[in-house]
Symmetry: C2
């Protein structure tokens, strides 16, 4: 009970620096999930939890939890992920985990016995960098992971997901058991993350609430033309798969602009890929995003139509292969409003941002009232060693995040669907929340 | 003395079948230069030369010669290459070498002592499949190879050209000694090759003379944009290197059509090449061909202009890196006419073809009066296991090639710049030919 204590941003910055020192300076973060670098990163979290007298508990999906008991069993969960892409940045994911840790540390140091049990969680394998399936641990924890769809995944060396998880003590077949552990009695989830985009920097704002994540359709368009000699094949008899893909990529950009969405063709694999041979095959990746589900569906339809007609115009065959899809996810309006007003008070953005990137919060929000806090990314850069945020913006964001989190923890900030709570009388809310 | 004997196409077809059996059926020809497969292919040529009592002689560049002495030291050279691309076809190169062998065999079996010395040559490394430098042996033999420009070449495994040649007994520094051996006293060079394009098949013609090879400009356009997150980066702040390259590739096609040339963008390497990341870099290969040197230069200028403006439109940097260039090369008009009339007589093409592909003949023609014979390629396909020519067309082409070659060998067909020769009185012509 008692007043919410202030978090100390400098301790979060020190932990981030320590993490960078131990798991990849120079070439960037070396914390790909299910690798020794990731385990070393988690060792820091384990050590810090031990320093404040808390056990580190791993659930069936490999998510790592630290838990500060409150007067009630119902939880506030603060989380993000320590795993990184190969050669990643120092902030993506780690900031949110270590800021969550700081909230627990501040509560303990202030001798506050919180109203709610407060947990920090390091979700396993948010990035999907090794096996291509992102949000693995958080999806498992919400019971939304299809085990059979991921069982056959292999990394670039042919090592299977099941074997890699096994080496880390995680049994793939036990993943569905993870959700029962914590989320069914969680009343709120908060995540602090860098924006990974240019909006806040361009607006010169230190912090913003996030109102949800936009929907994603990700697939591959495979164009099959006919390989032919560059010198001896007249232009008018060619079936150039690369040009069919190139024309499609340019049209896809126009489709995104028309629908106020985003479209990325980040990969184009050409076969045989030789300067003197007309391309016989071209595989173009397509990543479509839109905050509106219907608009997203329309974008997908138009892209497929354009691909079909560009393929036909060059006598190429077309194949479409789905990679990933996520519906737009709105976070909890009341929790978002609590974050928004806290941001606005310190000179942050007046309006919430819709995140173009997916986060663990996207998965958690399917079960639990959720909100996020964004801080700026210099140059919009992320997933790279030079991923940075101005120190003063980091401090502001950590403070805002800490203020909202500790406020909820001690019962000073109202939880979604309730009036301001001051006591231990909300246990009965939990079942209804599970259906949200 | 003596009438020109007829060659026997069936023996060439049998040798081709034997070569395919020993050096790669199924997955295609396995005769990449400077590899064991190539050496096995050459063993067949060595064995066949031994069967007709001729030595196989390797020159300083690794070119393999068989020589039938005539009344004069001046030579008629018949050649092509046994080396293949990985998984190549049974005919590309091998047809010309084995047809040349058959000419020597026919002369010997008919007991003809030819007017000219007649040589068959298997040029080393025509394809450049392993080290990226095509026409290596023929360029060295004409003294037109820049040793320092190739010394640093490495294969995909990092093995250097110099080491690979050394393993085959070829000393890179001795390559410039190759030309003095044979070409300075060669009066004519003939090469039979498959078309590797669709023209003859579409015209339903069995054979054609080749009047020259078109010019080539080959280079890489490197677009440097900025890698960025597919979800969090708004469309209007992107610097998408792939889209800059895609727009350029489509413009390049239009430039080729405008200039009655050919343009191929066969390779596009994207970095980081991930579906969820806006492309930060894109390297587009450009291969431009035109029979007219000025038009070729204009094509190149226009391509560079388009690339610059497409890069600028997306805020990308542009770098251009030259890979290869060859001027259009016209073959010897009189020799081409001799081949053309022989083709027309058997129902072949009335007009010579300009070859869009380069051949060893391109190099040889810089020093020696040269002509080529083309036979059709089914579907225009080459550099692939299903590279085929109808048997009846192969027979016709081998017969025409043999007729012209034996005609020159025995002095029945006039050599360029001379009246019909019937004696051994043309030795004095040789020096002037060297300057052609």
């Amino acid at each position: 009970m008692g007043r919410a204590p202030a978090v100390q941003p400098r301790r979060v910055l020190a932990d981030l620096a320590e993490l960078a020192r131990t798991t990849g300076e120079g070439d960037g973060a070396d914390r790909v999930a299910w690798t020794p670098g990731w385990q070393r990163g988690r060792d820091l979290l384990r050590a810090r939890l031990a320093e404040i007298g808390l056990a580190a508990i791993e659930d069936e999906a490999g998510n790592l939890w630290g838990k500060l008991p409150g007067r009630r069993e119902e939880m506030l969960v603060l989380g993000s992920h320590l795993d990184s892409v190969p050669g990643g940045g120092p902030l993506d994911g780690a900031l949110g985990v270590l800021a969550g840790l700081e909230v627990l540390r501040a509560l303990i140091e202030a001798n506050v016995f919180p109203d709610l049990t407060v947990s920090v969680v390091d979700w396993a394998d948010e990035e999907g960098a090794r096996f291509g399936r992102s949000l693995l641990g958080s999806a498992a924890a919400t019971g939304r992971l299809d085990i059979e769809a991921v069982r056959g995944l292999t990394d670039a060396d042919g090592i299977g997901l099941e074997a890699a998880l096994g080496k880390c003590g995680v049994d793939l077949d036990r993943l569905p058991a993870a959700p029962t552990m914590e989320l069914d009695r969680t009343l709120a989830y908060l995540e602090l993350h860098i924006e990974q985009g240019p909006v806040l920097e361009q607006e010169r704002l230190p912090v913003a609430a996030v109102s949800g994540t936009i929907g994603v359709e990700r697939f591959v368009l495979g164009f099959a033309g006919r390989a032919a000699h560059a010198g001896s094949t007249p232009m008018n008899v060619r079936h150039d798969a690369l040009l069919a893909a190139a024309a499609t990529a340019l049209e896809i950009e126009r489709i995104a602009l028309r629908h106020d969405g985003r479209a990325t063709t980040g990969s184009l694999a050409v076969g045989p890929g030789v300067a003197t041979v007309v391309a016989g095959s071209a595989e173009l990746s397509v990543d479509l995003r839109n905050a509106d589900e219907d608009e997203l569906a329309r974008m997908r339809e138009e892209v497929l139509g354009v691909a079909r007609s560009q393929a036909a115009a060059r006598g190429c065959e077309l194949e479409e292969r789905d990679l990933f899809a996520a519906a737009p996810r709105a976070f909890d309006p009341e929790l978002v409003e609590a974050v928004r007003s806290a941001c606005a008070e310190v000179g942050g953005r007046e309006e919430p941002i819709v995140s173009g990137a997916l986060h663990d919060a996207t998965e958690v929000a399917a079960l639990v009232p959720t909100a996020m806090v964004f801080c700026p990314s210099i140059g919009g850069r992320s997933h790279a060693p030079d991923e940075r945020t101005e120190q003063r913006d980091l401090r502001t964001a950590i403070e805002v995040f800490g203020e909202v989190a500790t406020g909820i923890a001690v019962g000073e900030t109202a939880l979604p669907g309730t009036a301001l709570s001051s006591g231990g009388d909300r246990a009965a809310d939990s079942p209804s929340r599970r259906a949200q």
